[in-house]
C-alpha cells in the first residue's frame, strides 16, 4: 500500500511545489479532518433519509407488502404445523384448528414486532437482563 502511495504522492507534490510544503501538509490534514467530521454528521442523516423515503408512496407500498407478508407467513406456518401434526397423530381437525389460531397470534406478533410496537425476540422486561451476563 505504501508504494501505491508513491504515484499519488508525486501527484500531490507536483501541485505542492507551488506552495510551502508544510503548509500544504497542514492544510491537507485539516481538510481531511473536516471531511471526516462532515461525513460523520452525514452518515446518520443518510439513514434517516432512508426512513423518510419510507414514508413516500413507493416505500409505503413496500411497507404494506412487508407487514402483510409477515402476517400471512405467521398464519401459513401455524396452519402448516397443525396440518402436519394432524397427519402424524391423526387428530384431525383439532391440530389444524388450534395451530391456525396460534398462527394467527404469531402473525399479529410478527406484524407488531416489525412495526416496532412490541419488543424484539427474547427481549422483554429489563429486570431479567442482569441474569444473562454470559452472552
Amino acid at each position: 500500500m505504501a508504494d501505491k502511495n508513491g504515484p499519488d504522492g508525486t501527484g500531490e507534490t507536483g501541485r505542492g511545489n507551488q506552495h510551502e510544503p508544510d503548509i500544504r501538509d497542514d492544510d491537507l490534514e485539516r481538510r481531511r479532518r473536516d471531511l471526516e467530521a462532515s461525513l460523520a454528521t452525514r452518515r446518520p442523516g443518510r439513514l434517516e433519509g432512508k426512513d423518510d423515503a419510507k414514508a413516500g408512496s413507493v416505500a409505503g407500498y413496500g411497507q404494506a407488502l412487508k407487514l402483510s407478508s409477515e402476517f400471512i407467513a405467521g398464519v401459513v406456518v401455524g396452519a402448516g404445523i397443525g396440518w402436519v401434526i394432524d397427519r402424524l397423530a391423526g387428530t384431525s381437525p383439532w391440530g389444524l384448528i388450534v395451530f391456525l389460531l396460534l398462527g394467527f397470534g404469531a402473525g399479529v406478533l410478527n406484524v407488531m414486532r416489525s412495526a416496532g410496537v412490541v419488543a424484539e425476540f427474547g427481549q422483554g422486561d429489563k429486570s431479567r437482563r442482569g441474569q444473562d451476563d454470559k452472552k
Binding site: 500500500m1 501505491k4 502511495n5 499519488d8 413507493v58 416505500a59 413496500g62 407488502l65 412487508k66 407478508s69 409477515e70 400471512i72 407467513a73 405467521g74 401459513v76 406456518v77 401455524g78 404445523i81 395451530f99 396460534l102 398462527g103 397470534g105 404469531a106 402473525g107 406478533l109 410478527n110 414486532r113 419488543a119 425476540f121 427474547g122 427481549q123 422483554g124 422486561d125 429486570s127 431479567r128 437482563r129 444473562d132 454470559k134 452472552k135
Partner: protein, 252 residues
C-alpha cells in the same frame, strides 16, 4: 415470441436447457440455473475486476465495489455488532447475489431468478439454518431463551412460547415470500403494461396514440423496479443481519 406477448406469466416458465436425470431425480440444467450461474459470474467478475488494480485512490468502478463493501459492513456492524463481522462473507454474498439477480432480471428476455419462491426460500432457509446452528453451537440450550420472553406469568408461558416458536419459524417464510412477491408482482405489472402497448397499437392510428399512456407507465414502472430490485436486496440483507444478531445474543 408473438403468441406469448400477452401472457404475463410466460416469462417465468422454466425450460430445460440440458436434460440431466440422475437416479430418478430431475437435475436438468434449466434457464433458471443458467441465470444463477450468470449472476454469480457477473457479481464475482465485477468485484474481482474492479478491485484487481487496488489503487489507493479508487477509480469509479473500484469505488462502487468499495461502497458495496462499506454498505454491507456498516449494516452488519449496526445490526449485530463487531462480533457479527464473522458473518460478513455470508451476508455480502447473499446481498450481491440477490441484488445482481434482481438487476439482471430487469433486462428484456432475461430470466429473473428471484421471482421463483423456491430460490428465495432456499436462501432464507440457508440464513435461518445458519442462525439455528450457530446459536446452538455458541450458546447450547441457552439459545432456547430466545423463545421465552421475560416477565411472562408462568401459566401463560406455554402459550407464549408456542406463539414465539411459530413466529420464529415464519421468518424464513416471510423473508422469502417478500422477495419473491415483489419481483413477481413487479415483472407481471411491467409485462401487462407493455402488452397493452402492443395490443393497442395493433388497433390503428387511435390505438397508437392511446398506447402512449401505457408506454409512459411502463417506463415509470421500470424505474420503480430498479428501486425495488435494490430495496429488496437491502431488506433481505438487513433482516439477515437482524436474525444473525439473535444467534449472537439470544435473550439480549
Amino acid at each position: 415470441m408473438a403468441a406469448d406477448k400477452v401472457d404475463p406469466i410466460h416469462q417465468f416458465h422454466i425450460n430445460k436447457l440440458i436434460p440431466i436425470d440422475i437416479g430418478g431425480y430431475d437435475l436438468s440444467f434449466t434457464n433458471s440455473a443458467l441465470f444463477m450461474v450468470a449472476t454469480v459470474i457477473v457479481a464475482a467478475g465485477f468485484l474481482f475486476l474492479t478491485t484487481s488494480s487496488r489503487s489507493l485512490v479508487p477509480g469509479r468502478l473500484q469505488s462502487v465495489s468499495e461502497m458495496a463493501y462499506e454498505f454491507v459492513g456498516n449494516m452488519l456492524r449496526d445490526a449485530a455488532g463487531t462480533q457479527g463481522m464473522k458473518f460478513f462473507p455470508l451476508v455480502f454474498s447473499l446481498f450481491m447475489f440477490v441484488l445482481v439477480a434482481n438487476l439482471l432480471g430487469l433486462f428484456p428476455y432475461f430470466f429473473t431468478v428471484t421471482s421463483h419462491i423456491i430460490v428465495t426460500f432456499g436462501l432464507a432457509v440457508l440464513v435461518i439454518a445458519t442462525v439455528v446452528v450457530y446459536g446452538f453451537m455458541k450458546h447450547g440450550l441457552g439459545f432456547l431463551k430466545l423463545f421465552v420472553p421475560h416477565g411472562v406469568p408462568v401459566f401463560l408461558l406455554p402459550l407464549v412460547v408456542l406463539i414465539e416458536v411459530i413466529s420464529f419459524v415464519s421468518r424464513p417464510v416471510s423473508l422469502s415470500v417478500r422477495l419473491f412477491a415483489n419481483m413477481l408482482a413487479g415483472h407481471i405489472t411491467l409485462k401487462v403494461f407493455s402488452g397493452f402497448v402492443v395490443s393497442l397499437s395493433a388497433l390503428g392510428a387511435v390505438g397508437v396514440a392511446g398506447s402512449i399512456l401505457p408506454l409512459a407507465m411502463a417506463v415509470a414502472l421500470t424505474a420503480l423496479e430498479l428501486l425495488v430490485a435494490f430495496l429488496q436486496a437491502y431488506v433481505f440483507a438487513v433482516l439477515t443481519c437482524m436474525y444473525l444478531n439473535d444467534a449472537l445474543h439470544p435473550g439480549h
